[in-house]
Amino acid sequence: MANALDPHAAIVTTASGETDGTLTTADGKPLSRALARSQRRAKRRAFLLVLPLLAFILITFVVPIGQMLQRSFYNDGFSANMPQISQWFAENPRGTDPDEAAWTALANDLQVSAEARTIGVVGTRINYDVPGTRSLFTSTGRKVRRGIEPPYDQALLEMDEDWGSSTLWAAMRDASTPYTGNFYLASLDRTRADDGSIQQVEERQRVYVMLFMRTFWLSLLITGLTFLLGFPVAHLLATLPMRKSNLLMILVLLPFWTSLLVRTTSWMVLLQQQGVINDILVWLGVIGGSGRLQMIYNQTGTIIAMTHILLPFMILPLYSVMRTINPSYVRAARSLGATSWTAFRRIYFPQTLPGLGAGALLVFILAVGYYITPALVGGSSGQLISNMIAMHMTDTLNWSMAAALAALLLASVLILYWLYDRMVGIDNLKLG
């Protein structure tokens, strides 16, 4: 019955197959080799089952994100369309004043680029580093198309004296190679000075570091709030008899299953100035009719709504760990003279730490990347880094900047994800 194709052939051994001391299978092959073979086959089969999905995820998810991230350090908008001046930058070190060759190269490139109608792309690329220069390129392009005579430096400076700006030349030098770290510098509120050194941008332009800090700080705060609210509830659910706790569990699972937009909308309804909560407070006489609280379209709105939305992600892992805690440990501590507080602090709480770690990491990871809720209820002070990425994608169309911010956000999320895998294990992720 055992043949070479049977995966279980390895375990079918016969006494007669035993020659010169090594175990063999029924068909006379050494057992160890047959075993290795069948294990290889089992491995291959398991892998083949996963392969279609792995390929699917790689193509529709991993590659697109990689492609997007490439934009954060690769932008050939200038270098591809302005080859001659890029060449000049490559040949002359930083600090060289533009000579006649440089002006000639620049004028030729501008002419070619204006004819090919790529001057807008070129201008956009420089505009990322020196705001306001896109129009310089497009207007000069229009003039150059009508004709330009040497000496080119005078001709160009006559068209617009901004061509003499050293900041502009430094920016063109940076853009003359397609690979650039400037977008990462900009996401950290840094910029390159004319001499190539790195410095902070002007104080009123420093937004990104502040946004990253705010995103992490708010996520931390929300994680803390979900812990404070989730811990008692999870404890109650874990200690009640199954029948009762299953009923109460519905109150946790229903929000979990309800559409994110629905939950965000209800908070808009509740929190707005003419909304239900303000009405109740006025009716109770806590606040006057004119002193209605501003609880939405600011950070408060983001914090309240996100705490509510992420609370089930804290309760569920806590609950599943608390269910497994043996109550007799606490009883033993009490019988040995511990007060209820000591028994909780020294015996019960340490046993909940795995659930707490899992819940806290999950909530934090999800909070760091939140977009919808802050966009709808956050106003301007409640916006997170995701909203800035979306703004660069849809409004300013500075896709390289969006990609650099996304790369930094992604890196922090992946570190946390790795931590989660190490501490909790992805296998232990549970839903409802």
Partner: protein
């Protein structure tokens, strides 16, 4: 849980305070969802309870916002409500079209996610699976990576899916995936897959592999074993995974905003537009319908979970 007999009066009062605190937290969880239901019957275009509503005056309530879900976008909403009126609503009403799109996209992305996800979960639960941890982490990552990053990546990729091939020196031309149903289905399948993997592998943890061996030893080939033994046992897990995938698609708005065209208007996108432009109680009517929908889904998943535990012999403790 009762207070133990040896509790001091202080502990006793703390226990009751604790129950009150838990009650308040449950209230915080559920109140925002419940409060929109009566408000969706408001006769006035306000988001708060009017005096007439608080007096339970029938005049204060109306179905006008539910009606507006049908009439919004219709060619002739004021015509008599005969067959042609309903045909008009079916063809032109914006919310009706959004619902149709959501269901179509949700259905196909669920099928794709469930088939691929279940197969992969079967492979991942085999002890022989190589690189199990790394592959699992990759397959779960669409749930972890911020949606805005996923959507941004898809935006570029779906505008020109063949750009990838230029790496191999080819210069092919092929159509866009952005702005097509296929594009949105693929994107939503990607986002739903982690949920299928998680629920199906959770079901397979308690799966007794000797059942498969028993079937094989009785002469069943692998296919028969799968369809007659494995499948019925893991089916509850597969269905709840599918429901999760469907809800993910049904509720997803960021990817739709980035890659869908004007034809792929879904319910969440319509809601998003409604909330951003000018919020009217019609949004609350939709929200109420969606809450009812999620109650139905939650009930189904709970029943499936209990059934799965019963047939796998895991008794709830």
């Amino acid at each position: 849980m009762a207070v133990p007999t040896y509790a001091t009066p202080l502990e006793r009062s703390w226990h009751y305070a604790y129950l009150v605190i838990c009650g308040l937290i449950f209230f915080f969880l559920i109140a925002p969802i419940v409060v929109i239901i009566p408000l969706s019957f408001n006769a006035e275009p306000y988001f708060t309870f009017t005096d007439r509503m608080l007096e339970f005056d029938p005049e204060g309530y109306s179905m006008r916002w539910y009606d507006s879900l049908l009439t919004f976008g219709m060619l002739s909403p004021d015509a008599p409500r005969d067959a042609s009126w309903w045909a008009d609503a079916w063809a032109n009403a914006k919310w009706v079209n959004a619902a149709k799109n959501s269901i179509i996209i949700g259905f196909f992305s669920t099928v794709l996610a469930t088939v691929l996800g279940t197969l992969a979960a079967l492979g991942l639960s085999r002890p022989e699976m190589p690189f199990r941890r790394a592959i699992m982490a990759t397959l779960i990552s669409p749930m972890i990576v911020p949606l805005i990053i996923t959507a941004t990546g898809m935006f570029f990729f779906y505008s020109n899916p063949c750009e990838l091939l230029t790496l191999f020196g080819l210069d092919p031309q092929c159509g866009r995936l952005a702005g097509t149903y296929l594009g949105v289905v693929l994107a939503h399948a990607t986002l739903g897959i982690p949920f299928v993997i998680i629920t199906v592998t959770a079901t397979l943890v308690g799966f007794d592999q000797s059942l498969n061996r028993a079937a094989a030893s009785l002469g069943a080939n692998p296919r028969t074993t799968f369809f007659r033994i494995t499948m019925p046992l893991i089916l509850p897990g597969v269905i709840s995974g599918a429901l999760f995938a469907f809800v993910t698609s049904f509720d997803e708005v960021v990817a739709v905003l980035f890659i869908a065209g004007p034809d792929q208007q879904t319910i969440p996108r319509q809601m998003w537009n409604g909330i951003r432009e000018q919020i009217s109680p019609a949004i609350l009517a939709v929200a109420t319908l969606l809450v009812i929908f999620s109650i139905a889904l939650l009930t189904t998943v709970e029943l499936l979970r209990r059934r799965s535990e019963r047939i796998r012999g895991i008794t709830p403790h």
